[in-house]
Point group: C2
């Protein structure tokens, strides 16, 4: 019974997600759904991306949080359009929330939409919001065993970014074992190592984004 | 409508949680629900607790994960009774899952039951499982802004443990600001600083547990 309720919710969500996707496509906007645990660095990645790309790509941001506008406030200092969604308890963004946010954005003037999901390694992977690509961050201090415990997130994400690699001298992380499990779950996944703090590896991430923008 | 469905689910959950609590009380078992983001150190805290207390307190563990038995395998090496719950997708433990796990534990021989919830800073705070106390970990690298973004978890937890304080030389964390926000949300919260890696601060955590055990 509970499973059926969830299935109906997901089906309804998928319909709205498809409509969002059509609206984005009509406006030639590439939408990236960025997911991670709390504090893994989604906002920092978005800030780094804006810094690198804002002179040549028109960017907007949707910020998802249970409560607060801290992240949206940080983004708006960069003078890009930003909409804050407060889910009021829900542990993920859904397509309907994003649909309302799209109404507030100047889509005709945007090429790249970065959607920061709620910090959660579980449910965000289940709810499409109309994005073209799903990307996840794993913070190095979270440990290399996360793909075993949260497999869906790793299966769904085209790019898996290991952030905070500046912690490497102080924290063990078995990249070989990690890559092996991730490749087993998701053979096509692109795995990047970055530090949003030092900027290391950000070039590779931005190159991937630019190739996706060119491919549209 | 969606809100009503959630309310019914939570009401049904609360009934089973009360029954779990009665069973625990009858057997004089203190149950602690341990919650955090993925990779904040729940299993490491449990291992440290077992190490410090197992000679004088009879401990059992319930391990909650979406998938895998990695954590239960680590715990069982310590020769304490452990039951793994795999939620199969759900982002939190609920009372019914814990009820089934209680059936597999020798409750008459246990004084302390440590319940490791699914790594998630959102929904675990909404679902009682029959515990006497809720405890949360925040990993230092997650950042000091988490109480703003995930307020319910901080409101519900009697003890808030900041783990991985060995990262302090390499990571900013404003303890004054953090304590101020947390105390605003939850004036009675006990805030501890620990490193499960070095063992720093674990004594304080174990003292709290022992005083709770004595108070029963």
């Amino acid at each position: 019974m509970k499973v059926k309720v969830l299935k109906n919710i997901l089906d309804a969500n998928d319909q709205i997600a498809s409509r969002n996707r059509q609206i984005l496509d009509k406006n030639k906007v590439l939408a990236i759904n960025i997911m991670s645990s709390p504090g893994a660095g989604k906002t920092s990645l978005i800030l780094q991306t804006i810094k690198k790309l804002k002179d040549r790509v028109r960017i907007a941001v949707i910020e998802g949080d249970i409560a607060s506008t801290i992240d949206a406030d940080r983004i708006s200092e960069e003078r890009v359009p930003v909409v804050q969604i407060n889910t009021g308890g829900a542990c993920h963004l859904d397509a309907n929330m994003v649909s309302n946010a799209l109404d507030s954005l100047p889509l005709g003037d945007i090429e790249l939409l970065l959607i920061e999901n709620v910090g959660n390694l579980v449910c965000p992977a289940e709810f499409k919001v109309g994005e073209h690509k799903k990307v996840m961050l794993l913070s190095l201090p979270e440990g290399d065993d996360k793909p075993y415990k949260y497999p869906l997130m790793f299966t769904q994400s085209e790019v898996i970014i290991i952030n905070k690699i500046d912690f490497l001298p102080f924290q063990d992380f078995d990249f070989t074992a990690f890559n092996k499990v991730v490749t087993g779950l998701n053979p096509k996944a692109k795995i990047l190592q970055v530090s949003c703090k030092t900027g290391e590896g950000i070039e590779q991430w931005v190159s991937w984004l630019e190739s996706e923008l060119r491919g549209r």
